[in-house]
Amino acid sequence: MANGWDNGRMALEGSVDLKLANYDKDGIEIVDVEGEIDVYTAPRLRELLIDLVNNGHHQLIVNMEKVEFLDSTGLGVLVGGLKRVRAHDGSLDLVCTQERILKIFRITGLTKVFGIYDAVDDAIAARKSER
């Protein structure tokens, strides 16, 4: 069941600019992200990732299937999260099939840094196979 991390707010055009939720599945913490990750909203994702790592969650999967927009600030937050979990021999994988989001990972070469999967179950299976 998702914890109460939903701190999305109404924005222009009545859409939610960022919603965050997290839950445990098979010992891995799943972070569901919905909306836009940009210079304005990225600090909230960063706070969540830092909080999770500080609370001992070092195996993370960020589900970006409902992310509508991601810029370099958001990339910085994800990389920051990756560096934090790696400091604890952990992992941070991504779930994303949207071409518009995958493009920025390709442009920046970060497809070589993150494990990017088509579904949460695929990411969990891949992570468990490496244990």
Partner: protein, 162 residues
Amino acid sequence: MATVEVTFSPLAAHVRTARLVAMAVARRSGVAESLLDEVRLAVGEACSRAVEAHQARYPAEPVKVALSDEAGRFEIEVINTGSLAPGEAPGRLPGAAAGDLAGNKGQDGPAMPRDGGAVPPGFSLAVIAGLADDVQISETGGGTSVRMSWPLAGPLVAGPPP
């Protein structure tokens, strides 16, 4: 004169507004639907970069965005007060390839932006270079201009709707 000009105070919250305006004007100008995501990301990167520059040095000065459609291209110019940051050079774009980006080298080779939400100087410009096929960066009388353009797909839609 630009088709649309937007001036906003250097707050992160306004970057989304600038993106929405740019998308609307690009669509109306005739930019192909397949390019609109690139336009949205590129103008967002340029505005984020400008906002961060102003917040550091010129918090009272507005960021300017000019949108125009001329000579078969849709052009966006984002202007901020002040010169380029160290690591950013006029007329020289950082490489968009991973190994060329500034920042920490990851274990696997590609560069990584720094932690804390900040990215290394030139990172935003590198992303823009990967998105727009025509990018010009210049310092102009007390300001910095990031100009980028995309081809228009069809005839301009300048008049009122039928």
